[in-house]
């Protein structure tokens, strides 16, 4: 914990010292054999936000650069379920701090993905984890609110008896019956462009524009289209109310995927290539800097991607600064070598092809001459 805190503090000092209220996207990247440092990324993001910067957290970043339901399906749900189980195990070990941290990260992740597209079970389990945390903190009102949220997310779900004690299952069933008996709320979803898939609480419900009736309470909405970045909404519906949400779907992120960037950054010889891949991501997210966090042995490497052209650069102080347990590296992009607008004589391809043709002709002539003329020798007359 102390190591992580010092890392976050150091990174915070570095970044905040060179940028005034920058827009920063934090991207945790995996490295060979190592998971993305999600917790460190979230800590860094939280501290940067606390110091006045505008930060897109890792969950939001990943959600926004995904296309359609990419990375938000059943695999994503399984990862969140594993994190929930781990948080519960931590709570069982009375490690409340770790469990709370994991729950916060889960909240960001799930909200950032608009509940995802992997079913409602993960949402229900997350709410029950939060309820358990509130209960162990003797916050009964909060515990009740999370129970209602769990019911609202999964009104038709039956809790797993192997994971939940009988009293919790009974409580869930009673509350569900109460909410289902209340007047449903109506949620209308409109998207631009239209015809996007509308997923509510992890379940596909309709194609936009459309209206659906829901159990009163909190609901997470995700509108996805194969050619656009998903739009998400977090709404709280009162019984009998009708709420409309309009979601604008932005053009999909067309840069290198996180997996591709991870592989480039992991290779020192291709790190500059990774920088160039982070650059379009910064433009897409409309941020000044992308801070990629990569686990590297017992250290963490912070890669500060260069800003897009015309924006303020992260100062050289970041490059030269030394951070305990972290290496800060200012990435430099590969210079653009566009040749589309160059005249033909300025293109290397022209000279390459021309040179090849000339060489071929010369070689052909010489070979022809050599093949047609008889072999000759040289005579030298001299004294010893």
């Amino acid at each position: 914990v102390g190591k992580g805190a010092s890392l976050v503090l150091a990174a915070l000092l570095l970044v905040s010292s060179v940028a005034k209220a920058d827009r920063i996207a934090v991207v945790p990247l995996a490295s060979p054999g190592r998971e993305p440092p999600l917790a460190t990324a979230d800590q860094l993001a939280a501290d940067l936000i606390g110091r006045g910067h505008r930060v897109i957290t890792s969950a939001d970043t990943i959600a926004r650069i995904s296309v359609g339901n990419q990375g938000a399906g059943s695999d994503w749900a399984a990862e969140q379920m594993a994190a929930i189980r781990a948080a519960r195990a931590a709570l069982t070990r009375l490690d409340r701090a770790l469990a709370s941290s994991m729950a916060r990260r889960l909240a960001n992740e799930i909200a950032g993905f608009g509940g995802g597209a992997g079913g409602s079970e993960v949402l229900v389990e997350w709410c029950l984890l939060e309820r358990q945390l509130a209960s162990t903190g003797s916050d009964t009102a909060r515990a009740r609110a999370w129970l209602d949220a769990a019911v609202a997310f999964g009104p038709s779900l039956e809790l797993d008896p192997l994971s939940h004690p009988e009293d919790e299952r009974d409580l869930f069933a009673r509350r569900r019956a109460a909410l289902q008996s209340s007047v449903p709320a109506t949620l209308s979803i409109e998207t631009t462009p239209a015809a996007a898939e509308v997923w509510v609480d992890g379940v596909r419900r309709c194609a936009s524009p459309c209206s659906i009736k829901l159990v009163p309470g909190r609901h997470l909405v995700r509108a996805s289209s194969p050619a656009h970045a998903p739009g998400v909404a977090d709404v709280v519906l009162q019984a009998g109310n009708s709420v409309t949400r309009r979601l604008g779907l932005s053009a999909a992120y067309s840069g290198a995927s996180l997996g591709a960037i991870e592989s480039m950054v992991a290779d020192p010889s291709r790190r500059a290539e990774g920088a160039s891949a982070l650059d379009p991501m910064a433009r897409f997210l409309d941020v000044d800097h992308v801070v990629a966090i990569v686990p590297e042995g017992d250290r963490t490497r912070l890669l500060l991607a260069p800003p897009a052209a015309g924006r303020a650069r992260v100062g050289p102080a970041v490059v030269t600064a030394s951070v305990s347990a972290a290496t800060v590296e200012q990435l430099r992009p590969i210079p653009s070598r566009s040749t589309e607008n160059q005249p033909w004589y300025a293109k290397s391809t022209t000279w390459l092809v021309g040179g090849g043709i000339v060489a071929g002709i010369v070689a052909g002539v010489l070979i022809y001459q050599a093949s047609t003329s008889p072999p000759t020798g040289t005579l030298t007359v001299s004294s010893p």
Binding site: S348, W351, L352, G355, G356, V358, A359, V362, A363, L366, I367, A370, P374, P375, T376, G377, T378, L379, T380, V381, S382, S383, P384
Partner: protein, 226 residues
């Protein structure tokens, strides 16, 4: 681009470089003292089916010692057919340019890598008696190519020992001191020491007086005069 240029240069270098065997014919002096008095050599290479190539190799001084019987330079001829015989003739002339003192002839059946040797031989069983003397003190600043001819006669012009046509003598006339083979009039056994001789140069554009030399010595088969 660099690769293309590199390949091109390498290709040109490879194709333009010397191909085929390279034969060296080494010329060795004769076993006797017949090479003494040679002012220069004429090398003629006669490839079969091609025009003969002749080169004159003239140094700054004639051969005055047996061990100095060497070509002043080398002759190199390229583009010779390797499967046809080549005849090489080397002739050593005195300052007259017409009197050969040594000669050698070699026929190379085909060019194969390696060294060949050709030993020069006395050009004739009896060579003209050699007279060596310096001409510079008579010519002063007269250039060699301004001289049309030179004659050597006994005192009072009673008997002409030698007439040299400088046009025929070509470059062989220029090495100093001049070494001339005197066909007749001098005792080949060295009995004409202290004989006075008159040297006359014909150079129309320059006033050259007749010169008088006296044979002073008979050393190693040649007369020396001053």
């Amino acid at each position: 681009m660099k690769i293309v240029l590199g390949v091109t240069v390498a290709l040109l270098a490879a194709c333009g470089s010397e191909r085929g065997p390279n034969v060296r014919l080494i010329i060795e002096g004769p076993s006797d003292d017949s090479c003494i008095g040679v002012a220069g050599f004429e090398v003629t290479i006669s490839p079969t089916g091609q025009s003969p190539q002749t080169r004159e190799l003239v140094g700054t001084a004639p051969v005055l010692a047996t061990q100095d019987c060497k070509l002043p330079d080398s002759v190199r001829l390229e583009g010779l057919a390797i499967d046809k015989p080549i005849t090489v003739t080397v002739t050593g002339y005195d300052a007259t340019g017409t009197s050969a003192r040594v000669v050698g002839r070699s026929e190379i059946s085909n060019l194969q890598d390696g060294n060949l040797r050709l030993q020069l031989e006395r050009a004739a069983p009896t060579l003209p008696t050699l007279l060596v003397f310096h001409r510079n003190r008579f010519l002063e600043n007269v250039p060699w190519d301004a001289i049309q001819s030179m004659s050597i006669a006994t005192q009072m012009g009673s008997k002409t020992l030698l007439n040299v046509d400088c046009k025929q003598a070509k470059g062989f006339f220029e090495p100093e001191p001049g070494a001339f083979g005197i066909p007749t009039g001098l005792d080949p056994a060295g009995a004409d020491i202290n004989t006075a001789l008159i040297v006359q140069f014909v150079a129309p554009d320059y006033p050259v007086k007749d010169g008088r030399i006296t044979i002073r010595a008979w050393v190693e088969g040649r007369y020396t005069a001053n």
